[in-house]
Each structure stands twice: as C-alpha cells, then as structure tokens.
C-alpha cells in the first residue's frame, strides 16, 4: 500500500484542515479543522445557519472551498485531495457518498431503478461503455443481475422491499429518507455523508433510521458523517461529535463531553443541561416549518 501522510493515521478516513468558505461578504466556514475516524459515526451539529451543509458541500465537491485541504484516506491506501476533484469524481474515485437536506430522489423512476442508477459506474464498465452490452457481449448480463441483487439487499435493510416497483415519488417521507440512504450506499462508499436524515421523521421512523445507520456501520464498515438536529439521534448513535457555530468549531469530542461543554450549551440559547434537548426540538419545530 502506498502509505503517505505521516500526520494521518490509518484510522482517520477524512481530514479537513483549515477549511474556509466565503460567499461574498459572508464567511460561512472559517478555518475549520476536523477529523472523522474509520468505522465510526461522526456527528456535525450546530444551530441553524452554522455552516454544516456548507461543510458537506465542500467535502462532496458541490462547492469549491475558498481555502483549506480535505483529505480522504481510502481503505486501499489511496489518498484523495477532495478539493481538487469535481463532485462526481468524489463519489466515483474517492468513494464518498451523500444525501441531501431536502431529499433528492429520482421521483419518476421506481425505487429499484433509483438503486440501479446508483450503480451506474460499475454497470457502465461491465457493459463496455454500452457498446458490448448492446451487442450482448461480455459480463454485462451477470453484472446487471448482480446489481439487482445488491439493490434487493439494500431494499431489505431499508425496509422498502414491498415498494420496490413503485415510483420513488410515491413513498411516504420517512421511506424516501431511507431510500436516499440506500441509494447512496449502492455506490459502494467508504464514507457516507448524511444531511439531517431524521428531519421530519416521526418517532417510529426515527427509530427505523437509527437501526439502519447502525447496521450500515456495523455490517459494511462504512464510516458515517452525520448532520443532525435531533439530539436523541445524535447522542444515541454517534461516536464522536463536532459542534459548529458561525462557521467555526466550538467543541469536539464524545457525545457526553460535548453535551456538557458550556460553550455548546451557550450556543444552544444558553439553557441548562437537561433542558437542552427540549429547546432544540422547539427551535427545530418553530424555525424550520
């Protein structure tokens, strides 16, 4: 393996260093550094407008950062500097997949087709960039069956198998969230970035989501970077929490550590420890609907 950077252990999957993003006069992210460890769920939290989604957009190439370095350390030893890749190459080569805060499904395609589109690159190669597949040569047929099998596995994990042949736009909200995660997983990522997957879910759906995320981490070894407002989700499943406010990191550590950090409490309207959860819920319900 080509090991490289001495500052980066094999355990670190993603390293963000001195990241800044400026929109005109607004510094949406200001000199942010953070690390995500392999096989863990890292949560990124912070009040509305703190810059969480912007961090995601920089990592996944949808924004070009004004400054900073983002290094992805793949399992096979490859290192990718994400700020130099374009968005689709980040998924294709660096194996980082993401979901969106406002769900982006292919609503006119069926649930199954959504998962097949996610396996595009693999299937393109197998079909000899369409030409071989069109002529019925090569391994395309086998690979196509394999891709349906993989989709079926994820549909089962996400509890969507009964809706496999329905249009994605026809699913209830919670199922759409799970489908988006399953679709991202079908790209075979090593790092999965989820932007508020629990937003708008009812308690039951929220529980199903926790199960799905835990099974992703434990069964596939995929590392997860998670933006979340719902503290019950964050505290329950994350191994590591990073707190942002006004584009800067104000706290970083285990869930327990962060929960008791006075700076974090102050950021969330300066309330007491036990009221923290409730206030955040209220803020979310009042602010985002």
């Amino acid at each position: 393996m080509t090991s490289g950077n001495t500052t980066m252990t094999r355990d670190t999957i993603l390293k963000v260093e001195h990241l800044s993003m400026r929109f005109g006069g607004l510094m949406a992210i200001n000199d942010l550094s953070l690390e995500a460890r392999r096989g863990e769920i890292t949560a990124l939290i912070g009040p509305n407008g703190a810059g969480k989604t912007t961090v995601f957009n920089c990592i996944t190439g949808f924004y070009k950062p004004t400054m900073g370095m983002i290094t992805m350390n793949r399992r096979n030893g490859e290192q990718h500097l994400l700020e130099r890749l374009s968005d689709f190459e980040i998924t294709k080569k660096a194996k980082v997949a993401r979901t969106f805060q406002n769900i982006r499904l292919f609503s006119g395609l069926t649930v199954l087709e959504n998962l097949l589109v996610a396996q595009h690159n693999k299937l393109m190669k197998a079909s000899g960039y369409t030409i071989m597949g069109l002529l019925g040569l090569g391994s395309y047929k086998r690979e196509a069956e394999g891709s349906i099998e993989l989709a079926r596995q994820w549909l089962e994990k996400a509890d969507l198998i009964d809706r496999a042949d329905d249009p994605a736009g026809d699913l209830p909200y919670g199922a759409q969230r799970r489908l988006e995660i399953a679709r991202a997983m079908c790209t075979g990522p090593e790092l999965l970035c989820l932007d508020e997957p629990a937003a708008g879910l009812n308690p039951k759906e929220s529980l199903a989501l926790n199960t799905l995320l835990n099974s992703i981490r434990d069964e596939t070894g995929t590392s997860i970077l998670l933006i979340e407002h719902d503290m019950s989700v964050v505290m329950e499943i994350s191994d590591h929490v990073v707190v942002l406010e006004y584009g800067q990191k104000i706290s970083d550590g285990t869930p327990d550590h962060v929960k008791n950090d006075p700076k974090v409490i102050a950021a969330y309207l300066g309330v007491d420890d036990d009221e923290l959860e409730d206030v955040i819920h209220e803020e979310l319900d009042g602010g985002s609907h």
């Binding site: 689709f88 969106f100 609503s107 006119g108 087709e113 097949l116 589109v117 690159n121």
Partner: protein
C-alpha cells in the same frame, strides 16, 4: 352502460341555461378572435395594390361552430360524462380497469403487421400508380417524422434536454448524403451510416460548449445553432448551392443489385418487366424508412434498459442527485445529444434520397417545432405515444389537402392547407387539456423485482436543462 340511457333524457333546466350562456360567450369570444384572422381577407387588385374585404360568411361559420360546440359540450356532453362517472363510481368500478382488450394488448404487433402490409394493400386497392400518394405522402412522410421524433425523444423525452435546433442534424444528414454522393459517387448504403456518424459528430461539437447551460438558455442556444446551420447552408453557395439547394441527388438502390434510375440497365421495373413507374421506388423507400424506424425503436428500447439510458432518465429527474452518485453528467448529456443527432442524420440522408433534392427551405425552425410538438404530444419518453402523435399530426395535415368537401362548406376559394397551423395549434391545445402528459403519459420502468407497474406521469419530471 345500462343505466345511462334511463337518465340521459332528464336534463336539469339550470344546465340548459348555463349551456346557452356559455355558448353565447364562446360565440362572442370566437368573433373577437377570428374577426381579423378569418373575417378579413387581403388580396391584390388589378393595380397590384393590397386591399381587403370582409368574409362575413366564413366568420359566421367559425363563430357558429364555437357557439354551438360549446353549447353542446356544456349542455349534453358534460352531463353525460358526469353521469357515467357517477354510475361507475356507484357500481364500484375503478376508473381505469386493469384488464386490457385484445387490441390494446397486441397493439404493437397489429401496428407492425399493418405497416408491413400497407404498400401491398394500397397497391391492390388503387393500382401501382394510384398508390403513389398514399405510400409517399402518408406512409413515408409520417414515418420520417416518427423517426425524427423518436430521435429527438432521446434528447428531450429521456435526458430532459430541451433542444429547439434538432432540425440542424436532419440538415447535416441530408446535405452529407447529397454532397458526398454528388462529389464521390458513393452509394446510399454507405452514406446512410456515414451521415448518421457525421450528425452525431456535430451533436458532440455543439454539445460541448452548450451543455453547461440549462433550461431556457439551452433551448435558446440550440435554436440559434439550428439557424446558424441553415444560414451556412444558404450562404455557402459554392458548396451547398445556396437557396437553390442541390438537385439531382442520387436515388437509393436495392443494395446495388437493382437500381431505380430510369436509364440504368438494372432498373427494377425493367428487370422484372413491369411498367415504368416511380411508385416502385416509393414502395422500396417505404420499407427502408420502416426498417430505419424499427432500428431506432430497438436501439432506444435497448439503451433505456442499459446504464446509459437509466442515467439519461435520472438526469431528467435530478441532475444534482446524478452527480452525487458519481455520474459524469456532461458525458451523459453528450451521449444523449450524439445518439439523438445520429438518428436525425439517418433520417436526413433518407430524406435527401427520397426527395432527390435538398435546400435550406426544408430545415427551417418550424420543422424543429413540429418534431418537438410531436414528442410532447405523444408523451415524453413513450415511443408508442410519439408514433401515434406523428400519425395524428402529420397524417392530419396531409389529410387536410384531401378535404375538398370543405370547399362546399367554406366557399370555393377555401384552401384547407392554409389552416394547417391553426388546426395544429387547436389540436395541441385540445390534447394538452385532456391529456396534459401526452397520449401516453406513463412510463414503463426498465427493471422490476415483482411486477412491472407503469409509473404515472404525475411523478416524472420534464427536466430542467
């Protein structure tokens, strides 16, 4: 339905009053709309000056049609439909029944058999010479548009890229054939694929700079590209012959074995001892374009179920999501453009061989608009719907030429073809009112686990760029 007859006679007085009111309103509106279009006729008098006169009779007919039509719809048709719906709902029959009739299930096979048998049927009905009109004006003309619309469907219907300059690739194909066969004497069967490849090449050349644009911008730039190609063809006189075009374009032959040139030794009619007629050539061309259409359909259907085709449709649904899944959207768009252009190129070279003459006249923006209208009317993405739309729109306009009897209604100097666009528009408005997603609004999924269920048009998107 058994219980509709019993209730059909009772019409509430309120409904009749409403119908009279709406009928009058429709009459007034029609008067306002058609007063200048239809009511006023301009012509040149003996001194070559432009003068006008009123055509009150014709105007009155238009107004009467609108008023009476609206009256009938509101007074009788609508209540009737409502009653049927109500009766069905009461009986618990779902709106759309799953069971399809024999005709519906075997529609494609029946259509194909009909098309293959079409020329012999026509010949046996009208004789060889008499078949010319039906095979050429209806058969070939419609099939050319079917092919063009299926080609554009890849770009607009599948990939969701609004291309208003599609006719440019048609022109590239036509001129490629005309010029290359003229200068190098190459045969149709060699130039047909070559014309497709050249058109695809131009599709990529155009695509590179243009495909970063989205939506309206893309539409406008493709429109401009179409016009540029036409202007080049018009002004590059040394090569293209300018507005006069190129005439005497070589005919296609039956794979070089039999020719359709009148003087040639291996002339088809001569070899088989048949009386000379240009109808044989048209019948041959009919089968050629039919085969080209089938190839287009086959390739499109195949591609749709391959990763590239799925990526096209995904692109139409959500480009950003595509990129987040590692799909190179620029390449994906380029392939859609190239494939669509290639089919346009095939159709173009066929057109040149059929017409024996190409000129910039044939590649005006209106052609692009008509092809796009067919795609939209048919239901974006649906091959069957698009074919039906082509038959209705192109067959309809051809049919107008045949409507001599309209002269008795509207007067001697009524030329139905002149109202082509009016009817075209009317038909479009009507279809869009009743079937806003086109004739076939649903899409067939390309893969399924348990059962293949059509996706309703309300979920699919039209694309944004």
């Amino acid at each position: 339905m058994p219980n509709t007859n019993s209730t059909a006679k009772e019409t509430a007085p309120g409904v009749m009053a409403q119908a009279v009111k709406e009928g009058l309103l429709a009459g007034v509106l029609a008067f306002g709309m058609f007063l200048l279009y239809v009511g006023v006729e301009t012509y040149q008098n003996i001194d070559n000056a432009l003068v006008w006169r009123m055509r009150w009779g014709l105007l009155a007919i238009f107004v009467a049609i609108a008023a009476i039509g609206r009256f009938l719809v509101v007074g009788f048709v609508k209540p009737h439909i409502d009653r049927r719906k109500l009766a069905k709902a009461k009986a618990g029959i779902p709106e759309v029944s799953d069971e399809k009739g024999f005709f519906h299930r075997h529609f494609l096979k029946i259509a194909l058999i009909f098309l293959v048998l079409y020329p012999p049927i026509i010949v046996s009905l009208n004789g060889v010479q008499g078949s010319l009109k039906y095979v050429d004006n209806f058969g070939i003309q419609i099939l050319i548009y079917v092919m063009l619309a299926w080609g554009l469907n890849v770009v607009v219907g599948l990939a969701g890229l609004l291309d208003l300059g599609y006719v440019a690739f048609y022109a590239v194909g036509a001129y490629s054939y005309a010029l290359l066969s003229d200068t190098f004497g190459l045969s149709f069967w060699l130039l047909l694929p070559l014309a497709g490849i050249l058109a695809a090449f131009w599709g990529i050349i155009l695509g590179f700079p243009v495909l970063r644009l989205r939506g309206d911008y893309l539409a406008i730039v493709t429109l401009a590209f179409g016009e540029i190609i036409r202007l080049v063809l018009m002004n590059w006189t040394e090569v293209t012959g300018g507005t006069a075009g190129i005439s005497g374009v070589a005919k296609a032959s039956i794979f070089g074995i039999w020719s359709f040139d009148v003087g040639a030794d291996n002339n088809f009619a001569k070899v088989f001892g048949l009386p000379m007629s240009s109808a044989y050539y048209k019948i041959f061309l009919f089968y050629v374009i039919l085969a080209l259409c089938l190839i287009t359909a086959y390739v499109t259907i195949k591609l749709r179920s391959m990763p590239i085709g799925r990526a096209w449709e995904a692109l139409r649904e959500d480009e950003i999501a595509c990129r987040s899944l590692g799909i190179d959207t620029v390449k994906t768009k380029l392939t859609a453009f190239a494939i669509g252009a290639m089919f346009g190129g095939f159709a173009g070279s066929f057109f040149a061989a059929r017409q024996g003459f190409v000129s910039p006249e044939s590649f005006v923006f209106l052609e692009s608009a008509v092809i796009l209208a067919i795609v939209v009317l048919g239901g974006m993405g649906s091959l069957t719907g698009i074919a039906i739309a082509a038959v209705v729109m192109i067959g309809g306009t051809e049919l107008l030429r045949e409507m001599e009897f309209l002269k008795h209604v509207f007067g001697e100097d009524f030329t139905p073809e002149l109202y082509r666009m009016l009817l075209f528009g009317l038909a479009m408005v009507a279809v869009m009112l009743f079937k806003p997603r086109g004739f076939v609004g649903s899409r067939e999924p390309t893969a399924f686990l348990k059962e293949r269920k059509a996706v309703s048009g309300s979920f699919t998107k039209e694309g944004h760029g």
